[in-house]
Structures are given as structure tokens and as C-alpha cells.
């Protein structure tokens, strides 16, 4: 008998087990029945999506498994499990999505059950990560440490996720449904989702009250809308009733016929905000009055790391080059004295299995709370790092190839998966995002304070998974044509933002894929030549698109003039590369399959 025992590596274990082990076996059985022709393809597709397995570009043999990470909270042993599952059943890399999920691509459909099984061992699930259900409940990765927040929204996000997962209420909605919690205006995406929530407090008659500002009916997509605030203050005890009321209305009145218009934002748009708002308030009163048992969110406050593990800050090694550059734009000073949150920049959200393992160790060693959080920009946030440990953390990240600078800047573009795996994609937006990031870092643009609060976001088709419409400079892919020859092209927009002044980007013009980087450079150049004191690229563009420009560039039309020369297509003989997309050396042609959801 072996007497060798290993001490538990993790002090911190997840509070909630999201998994149900039997779902793995059930999935395996259902795949077999489908392959035997005993389940029709439509029913199988609904089942598959409900269990978090999304279709893959041009093939029925593979799936993408989207692992839900509610509120982004992910523990070291879970990260390690995902590393192993990726090596065994996927491509040896995982992808962190803009909605805090972690995705495994190119999984053989028959192996999906093994991933569900492996995830269940560490309490994770892909259940309801796709399909017409409530998707991953998001929460700002800075919730709990943000110095502008009223209180930590994390327990509310987690409780909402727990209440809704596998709840009959949302197993067959007209379309997918998204909740986003945030810490404050600046760090959230509350107006670009079905239900967005910002913590808020008030004192009424001497009583201190917690609550939320609730935004409904927003969302990005082929047609995007900015959400509306339901009421001045939604007390915390009404959070669940409000959520149920909204889901019930959507379930009852949402469009189940027209796939292109069945998100809740279309219902709100069609009905008019005031009518929708009244309906929600009435429905909420009914929900409150008719629940047969008292349903309450079980909100468990997150204890602050009590006695944070302090690691000796100085290990005698010299501080590696690049530390101050990294520190400037990858760290966020927490409201808790002496502690920092650090953003780990990935390239378009991709991370290898060995990097995941390194990340798990780094979480254990450097974060006093002992776990990580997936972020909103395809990144991972490591919080509760003591200031004196930052340099050592940087060296460790450097060793793991995870120390790219510029995480919180424009040098960190978002790119959806594009033609790497998505059926709907027209261009390789994923690779383009990586190319831009490499170029920005090479040119030290992450260090340019004027560009710091701007963003670049890229989608491979009009369906906004890359969130291009809320980017300072956004792009979505399509096909261009010069005579009989096709080339990849992007519709460029500017001025989008998702903060307190949320607005959608304004279309500029179509820019060939291989001219996107020069186009960004031209915009930056025009900004530098025209900026007034105090302008950042973001504020300058805001003035241009809202007609308040105080410089030579008065309007989007003036930007067009600058960019026009870039839109000329050379002949194939002069520039063959122009006709090939990033990541490809053959000439471009559009090819798409059927979409299943757009995230």
C-alpha cells in the first residue's frame, strides 16, 4: 500500500459546484442516438447547444465547448483541468472569451462528453453556455476591488447564475439572454446587454439600502441597441423578482419565428421603451405576489482575504527589463491599500495548456484571494497582489510568456474567433487582432498616454461577437471585389463606447484587411496633428462623431478623405498579398455556414 500522500495544493476551493456529473453520460448517449439517426438534427442541435457545445466551421464532426465561468471566478485546479482537457481533446490552447467563458475549439463531437465529465470533477460546466438560455452571468473582474464601486456585485452575480442554471424558467427562451453585472460605470458593459446592473446604495429614512441601477434591452449584434434604465433604484430584494419578470415577458412575447430579430432588444424596440418598462414593473408585482414559496437569492458575501499570504517581495534578483512598462498599463490599484489587480494580456484570448498550468501556479503564489478572474477583454485578471510582489510576479509571467504589456490600453485589441472556427465568419478577425497587438507593442504604442483609454475591437462578420460597435476604432469583416477577384475587407467604425456615455460606433468606410493597420496609423496621425491639450484619441474621436470637433477634422467625412487612398485595390499581379487574408497564403473567397448563436 502506498503511503505517499500529497498535501492539498489549494487553500482556496470554489464555493459552488456548477456541475452535474450525469450530464456527461447523458450527452454521450444522445450523441450516439443522433449518429444512429434516432434523433433528428434539429432536436439534437438544441440539446447540444443547451449543453454548451457550439458548431464548428464547415464540419459536423467537431464542436466548440464553451465553459461557463460565472462572474469569471476560476480556481487554480480548474485552470489545470482545462489545460489537460485542451491537450487531450482540443488543440492544446484554450480561448478566453469576451463574456468570461473559456472555450475549447475543434473538439470531436464524440469527445464532448469527456470534457463535461472532466469539468464536473472540478465543479465546472458548459451547461447553458450556448443556445436559447441565460448565458454566463458576467461580473466585472474588478468587482470587490474597484475604488469607484458602491459595493461588491460578485455575490449577486454568482447567486443569479446559481438561481438560473438549469432553471426551467429559461430552458427554451426565444433566444439567448445575457446578464452583466459591473462594479461601476467605467468598467462595465451594462448598456450593451439584455440586463445590465450597476451596484447603487441609498439611505431612506435613516435606513441604508443596497440596490442596483438596472438597464434593459441593450445588446450588440447585426442591429445593436443601447439599454434603458428601468427605474431610479432597484432594491436588492427586488433583483430576483425583476430578473424573473423580465425573463417571463421575453419568454411570452419574444419573437420565436424570426431568428434575425428574436433577441429581447428587438422586442423592446418594437414595443417602445415605456410600454416595455410598464410591463416589467407590472409583471414584477405579479411575480412578487404569486411566488408560492419565497424565492430569494442566496447572496453570500465574499470575505476579503483575511490574512493575505505575504510573499517576501525581494528575492535578490534584479527587476527584469520591461517591468515599469508592464506595471503602468497592466495593473490596477485596488481600493484596498497596498494591493493591485493585474491584467494578463493574451493574444486575442488564446492561451496554451502549459501557460494555463503556469497561470494556476501563479494564482496560488501571488493572489491573496487564491484564484483568478476572466475579464471582459479576452484577458485574465489576477487580483490581490501585494505591491511589493509585482516585480516578482512580472518575472514569473515573463517566463511563462504571459507578460505582454499594454493590457489596459489600445494595444490590446479584441478579435472574435473569425474563420479559425466560426461558421459565420467572413474574415480572420482573430489573426488580425493578434497582428495589430504585435505591431502596437513593437511600436511601443502601449506607452502612449493619449491612446490609453481607446480600444480596437474586431468581428469577422456583422454579428458583433468582437464587439466592434463599442470600440473607439471598430472593424467587421466582409468580402471586397476587384473585377473577378475577391479580397478580405473590413467595415471600419469610430467613436463607439460602452461607459456612461455609451454609443455605437459610426461607420466610416470599408478598408481592405491588409490596409487596416495603415488605416489605424492614419487615424492616430490625424489625431496627433489635430489634438488640443487634454485630448485623448477617444475624447477627440468622440468630438468628431458628435459634431463637436474643435480641430481641422470636423466630421467622419474628413476622416474618410484621409483614408480614401487606402481603399484602392491594386491588381493581383502587383500585390498578390492584398488578396489573401491574414493567416492564409491563398487567394480569398467568402464561405460561410449556418450560424447557431453569435457569441
Amino acid at each position: 500500500m502506498s503511503l505517499i500522500t500529497k498535501p492539498a495544493k489549494d487553500a482556496k476551493m470554489p464555493r459552488i459546484n456548477w456541475a452535474r456529473a450525469e450530464e456527461a453520460e447523458n450527452f454521450a448517449k444522445t450523441v450516439k442516438l443522433f449518429r444512429q439517426g434516432k434523433i433528428d438534427p434539429d432536436s439534437f442541435r438544441r440539446f447540444r447547444l443547451q449543453h454548451g457545445a457550439y458548431g464548428t466551421r464547415m464540419t459536423d464532426d467537431y464542436a466548440m465547448v464553451r465553459i461557463k465561468i460565472p462572474a469569471g471566478e476560476i480556481y487554480p485546479h480548474q485552470i489545470e483541468k482545462i489545460a489537460s482537457l485542451s491537450e487531450a481533446f482540443s488543440i492544446g490552447s484554450a480561448h478566453v472569451s469576451t463574456r468570461q467563458n473559456i472555450q475549447l475549439h475543434w473538439v470531436v463531437l464524440e469527445d464532448v462528453s469527456e470534457i463535461i465529465r472532466g469539468l464536473a470533477e472540478v465543479g465546472l460546466t458548459p451547461r447553458e453556455a450556448c443556445g436559447n438560455s441565460v448565458r454566463n452571468v458576467m461580473c466585472s473582474p474588478l468587482a470587490g476591488v474597484c475604488d469607484e464601486e458602491e459595493f461588491d456585485a460578485t455575490p449577486y452575480a454568482v447567486a443569479t447564475a446559481k438561481f438560473l442554471l438549469r432553471n426551467p424558467l429559461n430552458q427554451a427562451l426565444p433566444r439567448k439572454f445575457k446578464f452583466n453585472f459591473t462594479c461601476c460605470e467605467k468598467h462595465g458593459l451594462v448598456r450593451m446587454t439584455d440586463v445590465g446592473l450597476i451596484p447603487q446604495t441609498r439611505t431612506v429614512g435613516g435606513n441604508f439600502q443596497r440596490g442596483f441601477r438596472v438597464f434593459l434591452g441593450g445588446g450588440l449584434g447585426n442591429k445593436s441597441f443601447v439599454g434603458h434604465q428601468l427605474e431610479d433604484f432597484t432594491p436588492e430584494e427586488d433583483l430576483l423578482y425583476t430578473s424573473i419578470a423580465v425573463l417571463r415577458i421575453f419568454d411570452r412575447l419574444g419573437d420565436r419565428k424570426n431568428m434575425a430579430r428574436n433577441r429581447m432588444r428587438y422586442l423592446v424596440d418594437q414595443m417602445g421603451w415605456e410600454q416595455f418598462q410598464n410591463l416589467v414593473l407590472k409583471e414584477r408585482a405579479i411575480v412578487r405576489a404569486t411566488q408560492s414559496v419565497v424565492v430569494k437569492l442566496s447572496v453570500e458575501p465574499v470575505p476579503a482575504p483575511a490574512a493575505p499570504l505575504r510573499i517576501s517581495g525581494f528575492d535578490g534578483k534584479a527587476i527584469p527589463d520591461g517591468f515599469s512598462r508592464w506595471r503602468k498599463n497592466n495593473t490596477y490599484k485596488q481600493k484596498q491599500d497596498g494591493y493591485y489587480s493585474t491584467s494578463i494580456t493574451l493574444e486575442a484570448g488564446d492561451i496554451t495548456s502549459s501557460q494555463l498550468r503556469a497561470l494556476a501556479d501563479i494564482c496560488r503564489e501571488f493572489s491573496a484571494e487564491g484564484y483568478g478572474r476572466t475579464g471582459f477583454v479576452q484577458d485574465v485578471v489576477l487580483r490581490w497582489v501585494h505591491e511589493s510582489d509585482l516585480a516578482r510576479l512580472y518575472s514569473r509571467l515573463l517566463e511563462a510568456g504571459l507578460a505582454n504589456p499594454g493590457s489596459l490600453t489600445m494595444a490590446h485589441p479584441v478579435g472574435c474567433s473569425g474563420t479559425t472556427s466560426c461558421n459565420l465568419a467572413l474574415t480572420n478577425s482573430h489573426r488580425l487582432a493578434k497582428e495589430i497587438q504585435r505591431k502596437f507593442i513593437e511600436l511601443n504604442l502601449d506607452e502612449d498616454d493619449d491612446l490609453r483609454d481607446s480600444t480596437i475591437k474586431i468581428s469577422g462578420c456583422p454579428n458583433s461577437c468582437g464587439q466592434h460597435e463599442i470600440a473607439t476604432i471598430g472593424f467587421y469583416g466582409g468580402g471586397g471585389r476587384n473585377g473577378k477577384d475577391m479580397y478580405p475587407i473590413y467595415q471600419m467604425s469610430v467613436g463607439g463606447r460602452a461607459d456612461g456615455e455609451t454609443m455605437l460606433g459610426v461607420n466610416v468606410m470599408r478598408i481592405p484587411a491588409k490596409r487596416v493597420m495603415p488605416a489605424i496609423a492614419k487615424v492616430i496621425e490625424a489625431f496627433k496633428a489635430n489634438k488640443k491639450q487634454g485630448d485623448t484619441l477617444k475624447s477627440w474621436i468622440h468630438k468628431v462623431v458628435t459634431g463637436h470637433s474643435d480641430s481641422q477634422i470636423k466630421s467622419v467625412d474628413d476622416l474618410k478623405k484621409i483614408l480614401l487612398p487606402l481603399t484602392q485595390a491594386p491588381s493581383v499581379t502587383d500585390d498578390k498579398d492584398f488578396y489573401a487574408d491574414y493567416g492564409s497564403d491563398s487567394s480569398y473567397h467568402t464561405k460561410t455556414g449556418k450560424g447557431e448563436c453569435a457569441a
Binding site: 502506498s2 505517499i4 454521450a28 450523441v31 450516439k32 449518429r35 464548428t56 466551421r57 464547415m58 464540419t59 489537460s84 491537450e87 487531450a88 481533446f89 482540443s90 488543440i91 492544446g92 490552447s93 480561448h95 475549439h105 475543434w106 470531436v108 464524440e110 469527445d111 462528453s113 469527456e114 493574451l346 493574444e347 488564446d350 492561451i351 496554451t352 501557460q355 474567433s417 473569425g418 474563420t419 479559425t420 472556427s421 480572420n428 482573430h430 489573426r431 493578434k434 487574408d581 491574414y582 493567416g583 492564409s584 464561405k591
Partner: protein, 270 residues
């Protein structure tokens, strides 16, 4: 367990406890297939060194037979092979001995790294044993040549298994192959998953015991050698190793297929 002609049950893998007792009893020959300089530093006590590169430099059966004899291996000597490369290199050596007709070969169920980190005994002393005589009875039924593969692969009862990583498979593979990356075969701390797990994985993929299975990988049959033993340990009786693998196939300009119209390589963070 697989049943051999001599009514003796031979495990595909042996665990550390069993191997240690066999070493104490001098009832086993242990082969370390790591590089000579690694072996010289330390190794499992009483093991001999046959670096895989040495074997591959010329794997003519007569030559390998001589090497085995020089290690004091006769027809009856139980042999256990280990490496520090998740069992793939050890598998290739073990398979070669089996191909020569040696029946009693197993893999250590863990890597040497794991052996060491578990705190089990190691030794730097190089061991030699008096030569023995071993007969040569080739077993063509566990080998697939390119000619054999070409004829067999379209048969309904044959499953062609590609054990390279997923992206390499998507990029190019032998027509009709199915992909089970070598990483699928191991558990967290063993070179192979349990028999039940392996069987479940294979059954999910619709691969049954009554099929003839041919495994291949990139070039020399290491990753697919591990798959060979995974299938054996899962009680799949009819397995062949296409030992010259994809490198030979491609070199001979045989047909290759690719997953078209997707830029999957750009999803890799490497």
C-alpha cells in the same frame, strides 16, 4: 491484461510497487530508453540503457536482437521499459521487442520523472549482465507496412488511428483516419488511463474490439506506439503499428486530406 500463448497473463503496464519487488528478486530486466547522459546521472536500480535514438539508428531485427541478448534477455526474461517522455519512447522500444518475438514486455506505468519525484530509489551505477540467447520469431501481425496499410485501410473492419495533436491532424492526415491525440491516452499521473476510461473513450468514438486497428503518428511510431499499448491495455486484441508513420506516407506522395476552409492554426497561442 492480455492473454498469451503460454497461458501467462502479462500486464501492459506494471506499477512501481510490483517493479520494485521484481527488481529486488532479480526477476526482471529493466530498460531505460532515455539518452545516455541522462541514464548516467541516475536511473532505476539495475536498469540497462537503450536510448531510443540508438535503436532507431538501425532497427533491423537482427541488430536489436543482439542488443537484447547483450542485456541478458532470453525468451523467458520479463522486461519492463520506461522513459521520461510520457511513455511514448518506451512504447516504441517495447513494441520492437515484441515484434522480435519477445512475449513478456511491459511498460512502467509512470515516467521516470514521476518515479523520482515520488521519492523512489535511483542509482547511478551502470549495470551489465551476461549475454543470453534469444530466438527470433518475428510477429508481422503487429506491424503495418505502407503496402499493408494501403490495402487494408478502406476495409470496413479497419480503423486507422492518427495519434498526433489535433492541429497537425486537421492540417493533413491519411484519408479515413480518425484522430485520438496521444495526450488523450494518459491520466494526470500515469502514462495510460485506466482500462475502463480508455474503453469508454473508444466506445464513444464507435471503435470496437472486433475491429482491426492501425495506429500511426508523425514519423517513427512513438506516439502511436503508446496508442498501441493503450489499446492493448483496453483489451483490443487486433492492433498494428504503422511504424514508419506519416513521414513515410507523405514521402511516398500518397494521398493526404486536410480540413479545409478554416484557419484553425491561428487559434493556437503558440
Amino acid at each position: 491484461m492480455r492473454r498469451l500463448s503460454k497461458e501467462k497473463m502479462i500486464s501492459t503496464t506494471v506499477d512501481a510497487d510490483l517493479l520494485r519487488s521484481e527488481i529486488r528478486d532479480n526477476s526482471v530486466r529493466v530498460i531505460d530508453v532515455r539518452r545516455a547522459e541522462d541514464y548516467k546521472k541516475d536511473h532505476i536500480p539495475k536498469s540497462v540503457n537503450l536510448p531510443l535514438a540508438d535503436l532507431l539508428s538501425d532497427d533491423d531485427p537482427q541488430r536489436v536482437l543482439k542488443i537484447a541478448q547483450s542485456f541478458g534477455i532470453d525468451d523467458e526474461t520479463p522486461v519492463v521499459v520506461y522513459d521520461d517522455t510520457f511513455g511514448a519512447l518506451a512504447s516504441r522500444v517495447a513494441w520492437t521487442l515484441q515484434y522480435l518475438g519477445h512475449s513478456d514486455v511491459s511498460l512502467l506505468d509512470m515516467t521516470y520523472g514521476k518515479w523520482k519525484s515520488t521519492g523512489l530509489e535511483t542509482d547511478a551505477k551502470e549495470q551489465s549482465f551476461g549475454p543470453k540467447t534469444h530466438s527470433l520469431r518475428l510477429r508481422p501481425e503487429i506491424l503495418a507496412t505502407v503496402d499493408y496499410l494501403e490495402k487494408a485501410k478502406d476495409s470496413k473492419n479497419v480503423v486507422l488511428l492518427d495519434n498526433r495533436e489535433r492541429l497537425n491532424f486537421l492540417e493533413q492526415h491519411i484519408p479515413g483516419a480518425v484522430n485520438i491525440p496521444y495526450r488523450t491516452l494518459a491520466s494526470e499521473d500515469k502514462i495510460l488511463r485506466t482500462k475502463d476510461e480508455l474503453r469508454r473513450l473508444l466506445k464513444n468514438r464507435g471503435i470496437n474490439e472486433d475491429s482491426e486497428i492501425i495506429t500511426y503518428c508523425g514519423s517513427v511510431g512513438t506516439l502511436s506506439g503508446l496508442a498501441y499499448y493503450a489499446l492493448k491495455s483496453a483489451d483490443y486484441p487486433n492492433v498494428k503499428l504503422y511504424v514508419r508513420s506519416f513521414k513515410e506516407w507523405k514521402g511516398l506522395n500518397k494521398p493526404i486530406v486536410k480540413q479545409e476552409n478554416a484557419d484553425y492554426w491561428d487559434l493556437s497561442a503558440e
